[in-house]
Symmetry: C2
Subunit: 361 residues, 2 copies
Amino acid sequence: MSATKHEALHQFVQEIFLNKGFSEDHARISADVLIAADLRGIDSHGVARLSGYVRLIDKGRINPKPKFNFTTRKRTMGNMDADGGIGLVSAHFAMEKAMEMCEEYGSGWVGIQNSNHFGIASYHALRAFEINAVGIAMTNASPLVYPAGGRERMLGTNPICVAIPGNDGREFVLDMATSAAANGKLEIASRSNKEIPEGWVLNADGTSTKDPNALKSGGGLLSLGSDADHGFHKGYGLGAWVDIFSGVLTGANFGPWVPPFVSFLDPATDAPGKGIGHFVGCWSLDGFSDAQTAKNQLDVWIDRFKKSIPANSDQPVIVPGEPERIHENDRKVNGIELNAVVFEDLKTLNQELKLNSKLFV
Amino acid sequence: MSATKHEALHQFVQEIFLNKGFSEDHARISADVLIAADLRGIDSHGVARLSGYVRLIDKGRINPKPKFNFTTRKRTMGNMDADGGIGLVSAHFAMEKAMEMCEEYGSGWVGIQNSNHFGIASYHALRAFEINAVGIAMTNASPLVYPAGGRERMLGTNPICVAIPGNDGREFVLDMATSAAANGKLEIASRSNKEIPEGWVLNADGTSTKDPNALKSGGGLLSLGSDADHGFHKGYGLGAWVDIFSGVLTGANFGPWVPPFVSFLDPATDAPGKGIGHFVGCWSLDGFSDAQTAKNQLDVWIDRFKKSIPANSDQPVIVPGEPERIHENDRKVNGIELNAVVFEDLKTLNQELKLNSKLFV
């Protein structure tokens, strides 16, 4: 199977969302976010999720025509009710509001409730670069992670992204799940029948395991840090911070009540909030010190870290965000190699919705 | 040795700083921050550090009479030049500025350059509770940590604290170093001649070790996550974020150039910035949604997590900040048990400075 041009893939994704009742704007933005993930090499969050979104729309769990209700609560802080819409779009518009406030006041923040999964956090955080600002984005997600010292699924993999612009496309982009390993890594190991390292997942009884299917069998992911000796209370604390900012404080659900991404599992009936929650915002680079000086200093930082002594002489130290940017530059030119399973999934969607996309000729 | 009343210890610490030329205000605030650490059970950052600060003052590396120069750069963002003063005090006043901006605009942020160590991050973040806001505080620190895949000391243990207020003294307080283990844990193991777990520290050649003295022998601490399999690029990314916000963007030093805390090591002569850097700020709780509703939801969150199934039935799941608050409540009443070495250290200071403190009678 040859690589697919990202423009063609974008076109296809957009058609899917249009077909499902999205507006032109919302379909285009949704495609932007998913294709950004595939371009950046975060394949688990790109078109691989498309059929999952479609099923949630079909089940009435994602509102294809939401009316976003934004409320300015303080001059630099707002709350958005996403009306059950897709997070890909609600977080996009929330970030626009945050950026407007940031341009006027130096920083801007929006919590989003009643939303759905928002794709990769870095798509949203990186938009701050348009106004020379530092972006931040976080979201809670379906519970799969045990808190430190626990054996009940209480948190999602709750990612946090911080994106800081430098000169000439240089940048610092931290985009991390707060669990030790993401679900996708377990699936890869499961498909190839390989053991996983201890410290990724616990069995449902709280015992350690190397079985890549332990999560599917009712176990739970471990927080970053993996065990008490290695600081898993810190990973738990980070995931909890994301949960509280995204859900508890915004009016969305949180903890074990966050609705599942898969359409065959129903949301909790005793939910304390509405939908999934996100938190996005930005700080003006000029607010820290002179923006140009800050960027020049970031260049010094990046150069110094890349030149620091590596543990293995053939593997230089990497700056966070560098691998994703390399992927993006490559895939923009050479196209995106789709996983065979994902390709079949898209092909099925194409047939079901009678879209006759040229992608599958 | 009996427990020492925190008020008496505070008085002694204040006298030390007064003796070293601090103003009444600065001496009192410095004592507040150090005693807060001891009360909260973070003994490594309390009076245990007092003689370290004194030596830095004696060496001219901490300015006892700084003139803080605060500049509003954007309506919600400012920069403070701490004039070589102690971070305990500069971060305190920077947080006041951030709180003022927060009260007017809903959020407020101050980066601090040309400073010194600021004590526990949670002291500064927790002050946001005074205005019903979420507090955040971070600082860079002397390089001891290897970046992911590296074997050169490039980062400090760079802590980050996020403090979120609930009802009736309930709260969420995450205060974490971004390394897998803090230096203090190595020292405890070293004193008792015990091996440490793999994943805390590497030897200078990048190999793994269980030797608690490996750091002293020129090795480096590992970032949270400990190794590639367990996501140490995430811990590295978090520590780097703190470094960039505290140092790179504010005009302070960063990475390997952050001045050492110990007075017998000299700062780098090719330093790209001034002193140590911090970043503090706050978001108004009312900015997310109605503050009272947010607090009520945080209560639901706390209750649900505390009631979640523990891995060991006799060790309930803990909410971040809970152990520190338990310590504080206990030590406020029952006093602080000082480590024998620390007590001797304070006694020596008392003699050297002829303070005749009743603590040592």
